[in-house]
Symmetry: C2
Subunit: 339 residues, 2 copies
């Protein structure tokens, strides 16, 4: 099943989306918002699935041609947004960039930061930033939405709480990160509002690409219309989503609608190297910080700047038949002007 949220008011309006993303039909009579659907998922999901079947069969009443620009992120805001960092190649590269070693325990104990969920960006909304000096970067990721998860859940039990999957652009202000991390309390100003793919899908939509709580497909990232990365999201995800959900729930209950992110998708080389830019025959990256670090390693010189006002990033994922699964995150960076 594929679900989305029409951009209207603070929480939007729930729609069911056809498998090929071409059409949609309102589901507000079943649940006004995705948040309300996830809070009563076991009861409501079968009704939403029935409408999805009708929509795909062309028998849904009131269906309409879907305009991606009309959609907000599936959850325009959420009470819990926690982002893991499960691709350790990314962790190694960004730490290398700031001269920090990666501790051995990172291979067994997931990294995760607490994000702010009060106002996500829509998938095609401008990324407002107050200064290019902040080192504006994108991070292409995958995230899941859970229902209520009890404290101290096991990874095995956590798997059953994963109800929906989507893509993320975890916008990062690299210039603010070293100062914030030095203070010891983690990210805050360095992680402004994130955006999500226009469509969230149930795990069964991924077929055999969904294995052990990982999405085994490449993530497609374009910067200003040029291919920037197609890293594989499956094999190098050291901790799967069930492990990340269990990590988040170790000392607390998670409320329905919790969004748990994978961290930036990143592949090392087969020989353990840090990967290569696409122009050098590699699969590229899903954030600028990594390619900058690799440039420094390969050429002893950072060539790629961070995002400037006017730059555009596009993040999408295609199935093995080339069909977009989630629709695209497609955002331009603009200078923030106080309103």
């Amino acid at each position: 099943m594929k679900l989305a949220t029409l951009n209207s008011g603070r929480d939007g309006e729930l729609v069911v989306v056809s498998r090929d993303l071409s059409r949609a039909v309102r589901a507000t009579d079943i649940a006004p918002t995705l948040q309300q659907a996830i809070e009563d998922w076991d009861t409501l999901a079968p009704r939403l699935e029935a409408r999805y079947a009708e929509l795909n069969a062309g028998t849904a009443e009131g269906d309409f041609a879907l305009e991606m620009a009309a959609l907000h992120s599936p959850l325009p805001r959420t009470y819990q947004w926690a982002d893991g960092s499960a691709y350790l190649n990314h962790v190694q590269l960004v730490r290398q960039a700031r001269g920090a070693e990666m501790p051995e325990t990172f291979w067994t104990d997931p990294l995760m930061y607490q994000g702010g969920g009060d106002r996500f960006l829509a998938p095609t909304e401008h990324i407002e930033a107050i200064s290019e000096e902040h080192g504006i970067d994108f991070e292409g990721e995958i995230a899941v939405i859970t229902d209520d998860v009890p404290m101290a859940v096991t990874p095995e039990a956590a798997m059953g709480h994963i109800k929906l999957i989507m893509l993320v652009n975890d916008v990062s202000l690299r210039g603010l990160i070293p100062g914030e991390l030095a203070k010891g309390f983690g990210f805050f100003q360095a992680k402004p509002a994130s955006s999500f793919s226009p469509v969230a899908v149930t795990p069964d939509e991924l077929g055999d690409a969904w294995q052990k709580g990982r999405v085994h497909l490449p993530l497609s990232v374009h910067l200003n219309g040029e291919a920037f990365g197609v890293p594989e999201a499956g094999p190098d995800m050291i901790f799967g989503f069930p492990e990340l959900v269990a990590h988040a729930a170790r000392t607390r209950h998670l409320g329905a609608g919790a969004v748990i992110g994978s961290g930036t998708v990143s592949n090392p080389d087969a020989d353990g190297g840090p990967g290569k830019p696409m122009r050098d025959g590699g699969v590229g990256y899903s954030c600028l910080a990594e390619v900058r670090m690799v440039e420094k390693i390969l050429y002893d010189e950072v060539k790629t700047p961070f995002m400037r006002f006017g730059d555009r990033v596009r993040i999408e994922m295609f199935d093995r038949d080339g069909q977009s699964i989630f629709g695209a995150i497609d955002q331009q960076v603009v200078e923030y002007r106080p309103r």
Copy 2:
């Protein structure tokens, strides 16, 4: 005006509470929940104020005797919970406890961590913990609730977005903090669900105790029925709430219902020393970590254990006439048993 939330469903039901906390009347016809009230505050606050006036005058229809145990935290969950650490005496002591210096910049750049708001505890709900080994601690704090705050707001403008004030118990698992902070991403498992005072009040309720965005009254903390701390919340708050709100909003818009905390209330001595326990004639503390550090300094020996299953903490604030302003947070620690 004083507002509270009946514990019912995920977001509860909005009630207006009398100034003396003895009576309440439903306000669900004005706004079903406090979240909805804060989202449309300018329109709805005058109607809530009118009901508050009726309630205090004894002319409100349908008012009832208020049972504090029937209340949830004013916002049972929220999209944005960010906690500052504006009492630097606390910061100095807890850093000293883990052998870390306090950088000079901490006097000019507020510390703040991103908390998780998906499932707050009710003011009298048990604090479930999976192990006493985690170093279970309370932190007595003050917090404000804002309406929508625009990105890059100034502290001057932020003042006008502060709509309600309440108390917090920012439950902390001290044993998990050093490991988490060493990972660099800040607190996560070490900061499980917080709880808030049963009643939230508008700034005018504090009269001249509300000055420059600080609450100039002592915070009363009891541990297992014994007085543990009465630190003054006003003078040693290095950053006022307007500065903390502006810090949180520097690179993002804050959604209505954002909760911004003060950090643990703490007073140094007049001579700059770290204060004294109440039994030694000091004003005491509002968390165990501080008294433990002071014991180590004064007696070269930590005497006070962290909380054990069965221990109880009570956090309250009284006006100059001895009247409780917000009602009490009163919680017992219990062992978590998976349900």
